[in-house]
Amino acid sequence: MLEIKNISKIYGKEIAKVVALNNVSLRVNEGDFIAIMGPSGSGKSTLLNIIGGLEYPSSGEVILDGKRIDNLDEKDFVDIRRRKIAYVFQQYHLFPSLTALENVMLPLTFCGTEKGEEKALETLKEVGLEGRAEHKPSQLSGGEQQRVAIARALVNSPSLLLADEPTGNMDQKMGREILGLFYRLNKDGRSIVMVTHNPEIAGHAKEIIVLQDGQIADKISQKGGRQ
């Protein structure tokens, strides 16, 4: 469903030039669970951002469902963000002034769906937070906040879920809970690309991609991932 071909990303110019990604190619098929690993500064987040269209590559192609999307302007990308690719961040990035339910409703609001409440509640239920709908993020634990963020990513039924160290801010127990949620979502047919430091987490992915200095250093296929 998604393919990136010979992607490079260069920040800055001349002496200040930093090569974040160097000729990286990658395929994400339907139902995949890919973990991107690598030390800090290896280009993991940049790769994820390019996949998600949050950042443009310096060269190379990004193809989604057979169409090039790396050369789309922002206007056309809005639609992809709304319908196909969703993001989960390490810091949750919920809006503190909105309730859990309102945070989940936000993508529907941007799509112009006026009555998204039912759908948002349903999605909250999916992540096991139906009882916390009216709570503000500050009244929720880290794990709960991340589940709200996941619900927000899921509410528009995207086919690809991108997660940038979603458990990075949590203790092990909470992290496992969140990961369990990701596994379940993957089993239900969603493709997931997750950046992580944690080898334990990566161990359960179907494919591990190890980045080093902006290049793919290793690709490990683990048939079936965590079964």
């Binding site: 949050l54 961040f89 809006f95 002034s97 909105l98 936000l106 006026e114 998204g116 927000r152 990513a153």
Partner: protein, 396 residues
């Protein structure tokens, strides 16, 4: 949930920030409202002074003077004597006056505009005392003498009635309902005026036809007071037009100190309004500034909103909705603060003038504040919409 609902929900939970953002607008609007409210109070006070001056113009016979007195008391002179103005000049005087006012003010309407009050003064013996009797047109006189208050009885209604000045009533012990003889004709005292502090206190007012009949002066008047009900009416032009067209009369424009005061007030108003305008402009920059800060503070938020599907248009809209809320809040607070300021400062400027709040300024305050807030937000909102999602996260 619609976009504006989200903004409203978001903003009502961040009241302090909205208040902070609206400070610039509040100060600007408050200054303008204060200036206008004080100016209006000053104008009202000067207008009421202006009213006290009564006539803007006096038309007298070309020559004639008579000493006015009550008993042995000399009260100066009045334009009376054998030389009087024929009553049939009145329509001509009205035509000239109304015509010039229409021209000056661009009024098309038919009908009478100026108050034209003819008077016939005679000296009469009442109960053995010499009193000035003024024959007046009751309706026109009432319009002219807005400061008249009847302390006892009522105003003139029928021809055979008299309205008595306060001092006359006191000296001659007149009461409402008393009958007095006016050169043989009997009339009733209908009312007694409150003291005015002018020579009106020494006069007896009777409908002009009655005086004309009683003293055999049919068709004659002593003088004519003209009051054009506007401070900018061309009184000098009217006077010279009357002098030029009607022989035997002398029209004089009453030079009014109040008018000069009005001119001063206008100058002060213009100065203060300019000042208020500058304040508003500075306030506008303040709003731009707070909005820019807000954009900067919310780079991350904007990035997240974009990441979860907001378009550039929607980001601009979010900031504009905020601007409207800030504008309405700022306009409301500005109106209240400006009015309070006027209540405090107004009496200091105009020496104890009674300031009253002006409800008509409320809506314009809201509109102005919202307009300013929107103008000030356009650029920051545009900047916000251009923020790249990945950059917004990097700046954390």
């Amino acid at each position: 949930m619609r976009l504006y609902q989200m903004v409203v929900k978001d903003i009502t939970r961040r009241k302090k920030r909205v208040l902070y953002a609206s400070v610039g607008v509040v100060i600007g609007v408050a200054t303008i409202v204060a200036v206008l409210t004080i100016a209006l109070a000053g104008e009202t006070s000067i207008n009421s002074q202006l009213e006290k001056y009564g006539a803007n113009l006096m038309v007298m016979p070309a020559i004639s003077n008579i000493d006015v007195g009550l008993g042995g008391l000399s009260l100066g002179t009045l334009a009376v004597g054998e030389n009087r103005i024929p009553e049939d000049k009145l329509p001509e005087i009205r035509e000239i006056t109304d015509g010039l006012i229409r021209e000056a003010r661009g009024i098309k309407a038919e009908g009478n505009i100026a108050t034209i009050a003819p008077k016939l003064y005679v000296n009469a013996e009442i109960n053995g005392t010499s009193v000035v009797v003024a024959g007046v047109d009751p309706q026109e006189e009432h319009k002219l003498k807005t400061w008249w208050r009847v302390s006892k009885g009522r105003y003139l209604q029928t021809p055979d009635e008299a309205l008595v000045g306060a001092t006359v009533a006191e000296l001659l012990k007149f009461n409402v309902g008393d009958r007095i003889a006016l050169n043989g004709r009997e009339i009733t005292i209908a009312g007694i005026l409150e003291e005015t502090g002018s020579n009106e206190d020494y006069q007896v007012f009777v409908p002009i036809e009655t005086v004309q009949e009683a003293f055999d002066k049919e068709g004659l008047v002593s003088s004519i007071d003209i009051r054009a009900l506007c401070s900018a009416c061309p009184t000098t032009e009217i006077a010279s037009a009357i002098n030029g067209k009607i022989p035997g009369v002398r029209a004089v424009a009453v030079k009014q100190i109040a008018e000069t005061e009005m001119g001063m007030l206008e100058k002060i108003n213009r100065f203060l309004l300019a000042l208020a305008g500058i304040t508003l402009a500075v306030g506008c920059f303040g709003v731009v500034n707070t909005m820019m800060t807000s954009v900067h503070e919310r780079i991350k938020d904007i990035g997240i909103m974009k990441a979860v599907g907001a378009s550039r248009n929607q980001i601009v809209k979010i900031f504009l909705y905020e601007a409207i809320i800030i504008g309405v809040a700022g306009g409301f607070l500005g109106y209240v603060a400006g009015t309070l300021l006027a209540y405090i400062v107004g009496p200091l400027i105009f020496g104890g003038v009674a300031v009253s709040y002006v409800p008509q300024y409320f809506l314009p305050s809201l509109v102005l504040a919202t307009f300013v807030a929107i103008i000030a937000t356009v650029y920051p909102a545009f900047r916000a919409s251009k923020i790249k999602v990945a950059d917004s996260f990097r700046s954390l």
